[in-house]
Amino acid sequence: MPDQQQTLSVPSLLLLAAFAALTIRYFFFAKPSTSSPPTNPRAANPADVEQIATMFPQIGRREIIWDLQRNGGSVNATTERILGRGSLDPPPPSFQPVIPAGVTPSTANTTPGQMKSEHIDLITRYNLGSRLSSPPSTPPESSGASGSQQAQSWSNNKNERQALLKRRREDMILGARRKLEEKERTRLQQDG
């Protein structure tokens, strides 16, 4: 009997030692990441937040940071969501991220229906600013009235389809913008 107790205490001693080691490690080395277990503690990159905030001035930075944190920091995913739905999910009241200094947290007490007064234009919405100044990408049929003849095609590949659709949207908007610019120019020439 005493023999058995002797042998038992070796493993339990080891166990105790392991437990002690873990406890010490827990107290001394694990300070930062203990407080917020449910949310992804990965902080959103401030540059990404700024980029999205510039693109969509109507969206608050708090919402942007919240969305970025939840999707693992993907600017694309957040942008897509804003474009698709016009807004982001409101973060819980307890979520109070550090918002970059010098920037007023545009909490913009806008009820969903109310914010319609300050619409963003299509160029901003579809992020087409960079393509405005560049010449039309398909020169032969850019300014013609029937610019959509070629673009209409269906792909069996999901991503390709998505890209084609995006392309058609962008061409439609850029086409309209160019037409309007042209109209403006001829009007100015006639006036002056």
């Binding site: 474009l83 698709g84 619409h119 959509s148 209409q152 389809r161 084609l164 949207r169 908007i173």
Partner: protein
């Protein structure tokens, strides 16, 4: 079960709209991961103050589509008697056969499974050209359209320019 029927039908409509799109209309799901949320671009009809404009709208489909119609909401500003200030479009083809709150719509004009996204978008396009004065969704716009047509047209044209970033 119902929602697989709905997504199959929506996918089919997406394919049709892509391979032979009606003039001035581009439409499709925002992302194919959710076939029940679409985004459409509608070109303003020629010969109207909306001419030259491109109007983005979102369409939300119910899980029992095509039994019930989608809702449609313009995402930018659209100053029009039949568009609520929130962007929501109010035309008969978007109303389910059962609910006619005002009793002036003919059943044939309202939603039924034989209608389609394409027909909705074409109806909305012609609605832009010819407002329906009987069911104003935007009272202010309706009043302006009725009483001060010049001002209405200017308001719309200014909106078109703004929306294209000019």
């Amino acid at each position: 079960m119902a929602s697989t029927i709905a997504s199959r039908r929506l996918f089919h409509e997406y394919k049709l709209l892509t391979s032979s799109p009606p003039d001035g209309i581009t439409a499709g799901p925002v992302s194919e991961d959710d076939i029940f949320l679409w985004e459409a671009l509608i070109q303003g009809p020629d010969g109207t103050p909306f001419e030259g404009g491109i109007f983005p709208a979102e369409l939300k489909f119910p899980k029992d589509y095509p039994l019930n119609p989608p809702t449609m909401r313009f995402l930018g500003e659209v100053w029009h008697p039949n568009v609520y200030p929130s962007g929501l479009v109010c035309i008969s083809i978007l109303h389910a056969p059962g609910d006619d709150p005002h009793h002036y719509e003919k059943a044939s004009e309202r939603w039924s499974p034989i209608q389609s996204v394409e027909k909705i978008l074409i109806s909305v396009m012609s609605m832009l050209a010819e407002p329906n004065d009987e069911s104003p969704a935007n009272i202010e716009a309706a009043k302006m359209w009725r009483e001060r047509r010049g001002e209405f047209e200017k308001t719309v044209r200014d909106g078109v320019r703004r929306s294209l970033g000019m």
